[in-house]
C-alpha cells in the first residue's frame, strides 16, 4: 500500500524533480571523483560541499512549505528542528572522535574535559552508535514538534500568534544551547569531527557520499511531501488553510491534521540538519537564531509557496545569491534579502514557480482556465 501510495504520488513535474535529484546524486560525485581536475566537467570539493549544503537547505525549505504553503501554519521557528537534528548528528560525530581529541579522553568530548566534567551526561549515552543517533535525529525534533503542536493546536493558537511562539521556541533553545552547563558545547557548539560511520569525514569519497545522501534524501522528502499533498489528507490541509472553521463543521478534527503535518515537517527539517552538520563540519547555537528560521521562510516565498518545487528552487537560488553576496558585498546581503522578500510578496505571490506557470499557461492555455494565482483547478504540486 505504501509503495503504490508513494509512486502514484508524483505528477509529471514531480517525476522530473526526482529524476534530476537522482541524476545529481550520481553525476556530481562522479564529476568530483572521476573527472580529472583540468576538465570543464570537474566539480571541485568546495563546490560539491557547498551544493550539498544547499540541498539540505532545500529539504528544510520543503518542510517549511509543507506546513506553511499547504496548511497555512507560518512557522518562524523551523530552524529549531533543523538544529536539533543537527545536534543529534553532531553528538554522534563527537563520540566518533574518541581518544583523538586534544585532551585524548576516550569517552568525554574535549569541551567536557575542559569544563572538568568527570562523566558523560545521561543524554549523551547511546550516541556512539550510529543507529541510535539516527533514531534521535528523527525522534528529538519529532517529539518536540508533537508536544509543541499538541499544546498550541489544541488551544487553537493560529496565525500571527502561532508564528510568534514558534519564534519564541527557537529563541529559547538558542539561549539554552548557549549555556555551557547544558552539555552541548555552549557557544562553540560541536566541531572538529573526525569520522562518520568509520570513514574520515574530510575524505573526498566521504564528502561525495554525503552529497549523494543529501540529494537522495531530498528526493525522498519530495516524494513523501508530494504523496501527502496529493492525498485526500493534503486536500483537507488546504481546506484548513483556506477555511479552518468550515473544515471543522464538516467533521474534520483540525488539530489532528495540523499535528500530523507539523510533526512530519519537523522530522524532515531534523533530517536536513543531520545531513548539514557533517558537510559544514560544525553545529553551534547560531543555527537556532530566529533570523535563520525567517530566512528559510523567505526561500519558500521566493521559490513559490504552496508548490513543492518552489522551495527547492528558492533555497538553492537564494543561497547561491547569499554565497555570492557575502563574498563580493557582504554588507549588502541583508538588504538584498529584505528587498527580495518585499518584491516577491508584492509582485510574485507564488514566487518563481508561480511566475513560470503564468508564462507557460499564457502560451498554451486560454487564460480563463486559470485562477488568479496562475494555478489550474486540482493542481497541487
Amino acid at each position: 500500500m505504501i509503495t503504490s501510495f508513494l509512486i502514484d504520488s508524483l505528477d509529471r513535474r514531480g517525476r522530473i524533480v526526482v529524476g534530476l535529484l537522482v541524476a545529481l546524486a550520481l553525476l556530481v560525485p562522479a564529476g568530483n571523483l572521476l573527472v580529472p581536475e583540468g576538465s570543464a566537467f570537474h566539480v571541485s570539493t568546495y563546490q560539491l560541499t557547498l551544493f550539498g549544503k544547499y540541498l539540505t537547505y532545500a529539504l528544510l525549505a520543503l518542510s517549511v512549505d509543507l506546513v506553511w504553503g499547504y496548511c497555512g501554519i507560518l512557522s518562524l521557528g523551523h530552524g529549531a528542528f533543523f538544529a536539533l537534528g543537527g545536534y543529534a548528528m553532531g553528538m554522534y560525530l563527537m563520540r566518533q572522535i574518541g581518544a583523538r581529541g586534544v585532551y585524548a579522553d576516550p569517552v568525554l568530548p574535549d569541551f567536557m574535559v575542559f569544563l572538568n566534567w568527570k562523566e558523560l551526561p545521561w543524554f549523551w549515552h547511546g550516541f556512539d552508535m550510529a543507529w541510535y543517533a539516527l533514531l534521535m535525529v528523527i525522534l528529538v525534533p519529532g517529539l518536540l514538534a508533537l508536544l509543541f503542536g499538541w499544546l498550541s493546536f489544541r488551544s487553537r493558537v493560529t496565525g500571527v500568534y502561532l508564528s510568534i511562539i514558534t519564534q519564541a521556541l527557537t529563541y529559547a533553545l538558542l539561549l539554552a544551547f548557549f549555556r555551557n552547563d547544558m552539555g552541548f558545547g555552549g557557544n562553540n557548539g560541536l566541531t572538529d569531527f573526525k569520522d562518520i560511520v568509520g570513514f574520515p569525514i574530510q575524505a573526498p569519497g566521504t564528502r561525495a557520499a554525503l552529497f549523494a545522501a543529501s540529494a537522495l534524501m531530498l528526493a525522498l522528502g519530495f516524494v513523501v511531501a508530494s504523496a501527502v499533498v496529493r492525498s485526500k489528507l493534503g486536500k483537507v490541509l488546504v481546506a484548513i488553510r483556506d477555511a479552518e472553521s468550515r473544515t471543522r463543521f464538516i467533521g474534520y478534527r483540525v488539530e489532528h491534521y495540523k499535528l500530523f503535518v507539523w510533526t512530519l515537517s519537523a522530522v524532515m527539517a531534523g533530517v536536513a540538519g543531520a545531513l548539514y552538520v557533517p558537510q559544514v563540519g560544525i553545529i553551534n547555537p547560531s543555527e537556532f537564531d530566529p533570523a535563520a528560521s525567517i530566512e528559510a521562510v523567505i526561500w519558500v516565498a521566493v521559490g513559490g509557496r504552496g508548490t513543492l518545487v518552489g522551495p527547492l528552487i528558492g533555497a538553492v537560488a537564494v543561497n547561491f545569491g547569499k554565497t555570492w553576496f557575502t563574498g563580493a558585498l557582504p554588507e549588502v546581503w541583508l538588504y538584498a534579502l529584505g528587498a527580495l522578500f518585499v518584491v516577491v510578496t508584492l509582485f510574485l505571490p507564488r514566487g518563481i514557480v508561480g511566475l513560470w506557470d503564468r508564462v507557460v499557461s499564457r502560451r498554451t492555455k486560454p487564460a480563463k482556465e486559470m485562477d488568479g494565482s496562475g494555478r489550474r483547478a486540482g493542481e497541487a504540486a
Partner: protein
C-alpha cells in the same frame, strides 16, 4: 436529561449566552421534531446566527440545555464531534474551499471516515464517485466540476455549500440565510431544493426574505433580542402585534 426532550431531534431549553455583558441569546427555548422543517426569522442581531453557533459547538452557552436526539448534550462536544453526529451547517456568508475544485469541495464533505490516517490512504471508490456525480447534478454544477470554487458566482457558491451539506448526509441541516445575494429565480429554486431536502432530513432555515419563507410553507419561529417572540404559521406570526411592532418599529 429532561423528559420534555424525549422524542425531539433538537431541544434547546433556557439557553443564554453573553458577549462582554451583552446578552445575544436570552433564555431561548426551542424544540424541533424529527423530520421537521422550521423557518427562523427575526431582525438583524436577533441572535439567529449565534443560536446556530451554539448548536454546532462554536459558541458555548453560559446556561441552559442543548440536546440532540433527546439526550446527547451538545454543549460538551466540539465542532467536529457535532458534525459527525449528523448536524450540518451552511454559513450566512458562503464559505467553500476556494482553492479546491467544485468536485473536490463535494468530495471533502462526503460522508466518510474523518481521521487523518484514513484520509491519507483514502482512494475514491466508485460508489463515492457516483454519489459525487449525483450531488453535482442536484446542485446543477456538473459542468463546473473542475472549476476552482473561487471562480463560482455568489449564488453558485451558495448552492455548492448546500451540496457540501448534503454530501455530509446530516440528520439535521442548519441553513443560515441561503437566499442572501441570490436573484429571484435562484431564490425560488433554492426554496424548492430545501423543501426537497426536508422530505428526508430535518432542516432549520434562517431567512430574511419573506417570499422565500412563504414558499417554504412551514412553522415559523420569530426571534427577537435573543429569545422567541412568537411561533406558528407565517400568517399567524405576521398578524401577531408583537411581531409587527418589532418589524415596523425599527
Amino acid at each position: 436529561m429532561t423528559d420534555k426532550a424525549e422524542g425531539s431531534l433538537l431541544y434547546l431549553d433556557d439557553v443564554s449566552v453573553s458577549f462582554d455583558g451583552f446578552r445575544a441569546i436570552n433564555r431561548l427555548s426551542l424544540v424541533l421534531e424529527p423530520g421537521e422543517m422550521r423557518a427562523i426569522i427575526g431582525p438583524n442581531g436577533a441572535g439567529k446566527t449565534t443560536m446556530m453557533d451554539i448548536i454546532t459547538g462554536k459558541t458555548r452557552p453560559d446556561t441552559g440545555d442543548v440536546l440532540f436526539d433527546g439526550s446527547v448534550d451538545l454543549t460538551r462536544l466540539d465542532e467536529a464531534a457535532i458534525a459527525n453526529l449528523g448536524i450540518g451547517r451552511k454559513f450566512q456568508k458562503p464559505t467553500v474551499f476556494e482553492s479546491h475544485s467544485v468536485e473536490d469541495n463535494i468530495a471533502l464533505a462526503l460522508k466518510g471516515r474523518r481521521g487523518a490516517f484514513a484520509t491519507l490512504f483514502h482512494r475514491r471508490s466508485a460508489a463515492e464517485q457516483d454519489r459525487i456525480d449525483a450531488l453535482l447534478a442536484t446542485i446543477r454544477l456538473s459542468d463546473k466540476r473542475d472549476l476552482l470554487a473561487a471562480r463560482l458566482s455568489h449564488g453558485q457558491k451558495q448552492w455548492l455549500e448546500i451540496g457540501m451539506l448534503l454530501a455530509q448526509e446530516p440528520r439535521l441541516l442548519l441553513v443560515d440565510e441561503p437566499a442572501a445575494g441570490m436573484t429571484d429565480a435562484e431564490t425560488a429554486e433554492t426554496a424548492i431544493l430545501l423543501k426537497d431536502i426536508a422530505r428526508t432530513q430535518s432542516v432549520v432555515v434562517v431567512e430574511h426574505d419573506m417570499t422565500f419563507v412563504r414558499a417554504l410553507d412551514v412553522k415559523v419561529t420569530v426571534l427577537h433580542e435573543g429569545s422567541v417572540l412568537a411561533e406558528g404559521s407565517l400568517d399567524a406570526v405576521s398578524a401577531n402585534p408583537k411581531v409587527i411592532e418589532v418589524y415596523l418599529g425599527r
